[in-house]
Amino acid sequence: MQMIGVAILSLTLLGLALGFLLGTAAYYLKVEGNTLAAELEKLLPGSQCGQCGFPGCTAAAQALANGQAAVTLCPPGGRVLVETLAARLGVEVNLAQVKETIPIIAEVQEDLCIGCTRCFKVCPTDAILGAAKQIHVVFREACTGCNQCIAVCPTESLQLKPVPVTLQSWYWERPAMTV
């Protein structure tokens, strides 16, 4: 009888101690993981476009925090984002080898659009305006070139095009690396 009492007591103590340990560990580790992911998410473009292969920026940030994704994961972020992420995570990248993505946006070819509203429904940044049986339009300022609308358009009316250069956005090209 006494043996049973001792056993119960020791097991209870052990359980409590281990439980406490686990609890604290979980508490601290969990907080660490979450803050990092949240911080990284703030650095990402936030357009939820899914080009990185994750369902959105939140998932992408989580993967980055867990070390399951490279700092080069996000195409729309470009070289600047790679630089920022690498600095935050303390990893080395050769920036010269990171391909700079030219900004692209979607454009509706008016004669092909049948007004099916599919693109309008999937655009993650509400950059497309239209209604049933109406020709749809893409707002350049809001489009991130994420490709989602292109994938659903039944008539290939939507196409990705480089953002047109204007007098305001033009600047000198990088000098050719001859030396």
């Binding site: 473009p45 936030g46 357009s47 939820q48 729309p76 470009g78 070289r79 600047v80 630089e83 920036l95 010269a96 900004p103 993650p124 940044t125 509400d126 950059a127 300022e141 809001a142 991130t144 250069v165 204007t166 007098l167 956005s169 033009w170 600047y171 000198w172 090209e173 990088r174 000098p175 690396m177 001859t178 030396v179």
Partner: protein, 489 residues
């Protein structure tokens, strides 16, 4: 007067002799004028005429929009022939919104009332007239002059500095203006002083323009205007250098001239202000130097804004040999033109056509770390180090070395024995940084849009659920009622 020492700077061959002795001649009216709606820093002007409208010389054809902008006037009388895109005087050659005017040959001014005693106008009234005349900085920067006057008046600027340095090689328009239209230039300077209430007025003229100095000193006698010869040194015409040499003051990093109580205007601008206020003539012509080894008869011309560069070369006897490079502005900071079908704008100080001999053979070789660029830089930057960072894609590193203070004067490129296009790297890097800034702004906007959309979707889902639950509850209630009824029966 005591002058202050400058660091850096270079002594390029000025080649001013080509056109310095040519009096200013008026260019005959061309058959067409192509007048761009943005010839200044700031917002583009908005057209207020329609195709087919008849306009007088000096009539407003596009009004300034926003805080920093300038109105555009018809350069002669005639008919508006088109409003649309036309190649811009810009290194990209991209189109810009342009009004095309067909001159009627009468060159009839829109007469405007002029004050009897211009110097008794209130400072605000002068700034208003300068604004209405569409005057911008004629030294090349093309910043709206009235904006500068208003800011300086409010911050009670002490010293007005007039830039007569004309430090770019080849250019002689300001030199001729000071020699030929001396009293008008002095009148303009006195108007500018009155408009900001400055105590001192210093006119800095490089000492290679002795005739201009003598003429200006003579005309300024008995006025508050002091004409001061300054050393010939490129880039003396840069505001920072000119202020330093005349007053010893330095603009703080990220600061403005007003912070040290100084305002700088160009002599050409002073002349334009005088024309606007004494004669009621808005800015519709400017003096342009046509020069370069390929030009048959280098000249100084007074040109209606909107004239194609082609007409200027033709009037100067065409080319004695095929030019290998065309420039608008000076050879150090001017822009390369793709062809001669580009209009002269308010900021055009010169158009140059160079022969192969005038262009340095630019075979680029590796940096030999000679530090020539370092000694030449007027700002005291380290061009070779900044280029090393930019080549390694480390733009932030270049900023830490002072990239944002670089005035793109090109002195470093000029002296580099390895012909490394240093200033080209800096122009590229500044453009890239501006582009990044734009991307950041766009990403902030799209992030908000995406968040709003997610919230909206979540709300719709919640509403759908709530509606479904309500339907369920209603159905259950009905069944219960039915059961109760059935039992009761």
């Amino acid at each position: 007067m005591k002058l202050f020492r400058l660091q850096g700077g270079i002594h390029p061959d000025t080649c001013k002799i080509l056109s310095a002795e040519q009096p200013i001649r008026s260019l005959p009216l061309p058959n067409w004028l192509h007048i761009p709606l943005q010839q200044h820093i700031g917002a583009s002007a908005k057209p207020v005429v329609k195709v087919g409208d008849r306009v007088y010389k000096g009539q407003v054809i596009a009004v300034s929009q926003g805080a920093v902008s300038a109105s555009i006037h018809a350069s002669t009388s005639g008919e508006i022939a088109a409003i649309g895109n036309y190649p811009a005087p810009h290194p990209s050659g991209l189109p810009i919104f342009t009004i095309t005017l067909k001159p009627d040959g009468a060159d009839r001014w829109l007469e405007q009332e002029v004050p009897d005693e211009p110097l008794t106008l209130s400072p605000e009234a002068i700034a208003m007239r300068v604004n209405a005349a569409g005057i911008v900085g004629l030294g090349g920067a093309a910043f709206p002059s009235a904006v500068k006057l208003n800011v300086s008046r409010r911050s009670q600027v002490q010293t007005l500095i007039i830039n007569g340095s004309e430090c770019e090689p080849y250019l002689t328009g300001d030199d001729r203006l000071m020699r030929e239209r001396t009293s008008a230039v002095i009148q303009g300077i006195r108007l500018l002083r009155h408009a900001v209430g400055a105590q001192d007025v210093l006119v800095g003229i490089e000492d290679n323009k002795s005739q201009a100095i003598t003429a200006m000193q003579f005309a300024a006698m008995g006025t508050e205007v002091q004409v001061i010869p300054i050393p010939t040194l490129y880039p003396m015409g840069s505001e920072k250098q000119l202020v330093k040499v005349l007053t010893g003051k330095e603009v703080p990093a990220n600061g403005r001239l007003a912070d040290i109580s100084v305002l700088v205007h160009n002599v050409g601008t002073a002349y334009a202000v005088r024309q606007a206020i004494y004669l009621g003539r808005p800015l519709v012509t400017r003096v342009v130097t046509v020069s370069g080894g390929a030009v048959a008869k280098p000249s100084n011309l007074e040109v209606p804004i909107g004239t194609l560069v082609e007409e200027l070369f033709r009037f100067c006897g065409g080319f004695r040999e095929t030019p290998v490079r065309l420039l608008m502005g000076g050879p150090m900071m001017g822009i390369q033109l793709p062809n001669t079908q580009i209009p002269v704008v308010k900021g055009t100080s010169g158009v140059l056509a160079f022969t192969a001999q005038e262009i340095t053979g630019n075979r680029i070789s590796p940096c030999i770390r000679c530090a020539s660029c370092l000694r030449a830089c007027p700002i005291g930057l380290q061009p070779l180090e900044m280029v090393a960072r930019i080549r390694a894609h480390d733009l932030n590193g270049a900023i830490r070395l002072g990239l944002k203070d670089c005035i793109a004067c090109g002195s470093c490129s000029y002296v580099c024995p390895a012909h490394i296009p240093l200033v080209h790297y800096f122009n590229y890097a500044k453009g890239e940084l501006a582009a990044r800034e734009r991307i950041k702004l766009k990403q902030e906007a799209t992030r908000k849009l995406a968040e709003e959309r997610m919230e909206r979707l979540a709300r719709l889902a919640r509403e759908r659920e709530a509606a479904a639950a309500a339907r369920q509850a209603a159905k259950a209630a009905k069944e219960k009622q039915a059961n109760v009824l059935a039992e009761a029966i």
